[in-house]
């Protein structure tokens, strides 16, 4: 490769790189800044049925129920102010459990139930060994849900 060709190649590749970075940034700023909507926002905004969006919140305690077919699962997602019923067929991440954060991708049906096509678990920023968690709960100093 000649020096000129090499220089051209690098200028093109760096411009492409910058272009990709800018495109990603603009894309992120347009719609992905808000990765999910909370149940309260959904109640306020009145999102129409069939429109795809992400719902995020906490899996309500004692709300998870297995369907009769064994693969459908239903639960409620809450932000303590409002909650939305969710139905999902398929795999669940390891951290999916009651009282933990969750982000579901899907849309509302006509009855206001969120039909999820994908479930992601959102964990919090607290890390500790199980014994410490148990001790905190026992002592009544548990801060979590």
């Amino acid at each position: 490769m000649t020096r000129r060709r090499r220089r051209l190649y690098f200028i093109v590749s760096s411009l492409t790189m910058l272009g990709v970075a800018t495109a990603l940034a603009l894309n992120a700023f347009r719609e992905n800044l808000v990765f999910f909507h909370s149940p309260s926002e959904i109640a306020e905004k009145g999102i129409p049925a069939e429109r795809r969006f992400r719902l995020g919140g906490i899996v309500e305690e004692n709300s998870v129920a297995q369907g009769n077919d064994g693969v459908t699962i239903s639960f409620r997602v809450t932000d303590t102010a409002a909650s939305v019923p969710v139905r999902h067929r398929g795999l669940l991440p390891d951290l999916f459990r009651e009282g933990q954060g969750v982000v579901a991708d899907g849309s509302l049906d006509k009855d206001g139930t969120f039909i999820a096509t994908e479930i992601l678990a959102k964990h919090d920023e607290t890390y500790m060994p199980p014994e410490v968690a148990a001790a905190l709960k026992k002592a009544g100093r548990w801060q979590g849900e």
Binding site: R3, R7, F10, I11, S13, S14, M17, L18, V20, A21, L24, A25, N27, A28, N32, L33, V34, F35, F36, H37, S38, G56, L91, L92, P93, D94, L95, F96, Q100, V103, E118, I119, L120, A121, K122, H123, D124, E125, T126, Y127, M128, P129, P130, E131, V132, A133, A134
Partner: protein, 242 residues
């Protein structure tokens, strides 16, 4: 350029760097061995994440160093532009591949952590996207140095790119607080103190120190190389003039 600060003098820098490097290298190796041992054998399982939490011990220090290397690059670029210091420009140039490597590591280990915990390798949330942009900024910066033959012009253009990219740094840091992201908020650098139990925090901090030591060692190796390359260029120019 006779008024350079002593350490900004490339020759004095070479002497200093060669003297300090072995000690930093030994300290880094010791920290790394201790850190890996603590991460894999001593640290307890997390109450929610089990053994998967151990990925944190490589993921989080990588992400810290990805940001730190960029800060070094940006400060050196600014110093290079303001004081027209060749050594400052070369410091920025030497830091870029290290920063790019740490960013790549943060992204790769993050994917390996996200798949079992979140249920996905990747999402386009504000945190992950802004770190991907950081990776492209590093690549663009490196490509810019390669693209321009004239050394002084390359240094100037690359420095301007590095400084423009600084806006991305606070976006990365605060993305998890400003917007709804799948990525969780900060655990260590937070106003009300770390939310990590000390048995998990200690290995994390030791690994962080080891990665910081690695950065210093590799930066000094790469910077010495850049200084020698500059001497080669100067020699060749003198010779071509006759």
């Amino acid at each position: 350029m006779a008024n350079w600060h002593r350490l900004a003098n490339p020759t004095l820098f070479l002497e200093w760097s060669r003297r300090v490097r072995p000690w930093t290298g030994v300290a880094t190796a010791a920290l790394l061995a201790t850190g890996v041992y603590l991460s894999l054998f001593v640290a307890p399982r997390d109450y929610q994440q089990g053994d998967a939490v151990r990925i944190m011990f490589v993921h989080v220090p990588s992400a810290w160093m990805a940001l730190f290397a960029y800060a070094v690059m940006a400060v050196a670029s600014a110093a290079g532009l303001i004081w027209k210091s060749p050594l400052a420009h070369l410091t920025a140039k030497a830091a870029a591949p290290i920063g790019a490597s740490f960013t790549l590591l943060a992204l790769a280990t993050g994917a390996l952590w996200g798949q079992p915990m979140w249920g996905t390798w990747w999402v386009w949330d504000a945190r992950l996207t802004s770190v991907l942009i950081l990776f492209f900024l590093y690549l663009g910066y490196i490509a810019l140095w390669q693209a321009i033959d004239d050394h002084a012009r390359a240094a100037k253009s690359a420095a301007i790119l590095a400084l423009v990219g600084v806006v991305n740094i606070p976006i990365i840091k605060f993305s998890v607080d400003w917007w709804n992201t799948l990525h969780q908020p900060a655990s260590v650098l937070r106003m009300d103190g770390p939310s990590i139990h000390s048995s998990l925090l200690t290995p994390l901090l030791v690994m962080g120190a080891a990665f910081a030591g690695y950065f210093v060692v590799v930066l000094s190796i790469r910077l010495e190389r850049e200084v020698l390359a500059r001497q080669v260029r100067t020699l060749r120019r003198v010779q071509s003039r006759g």
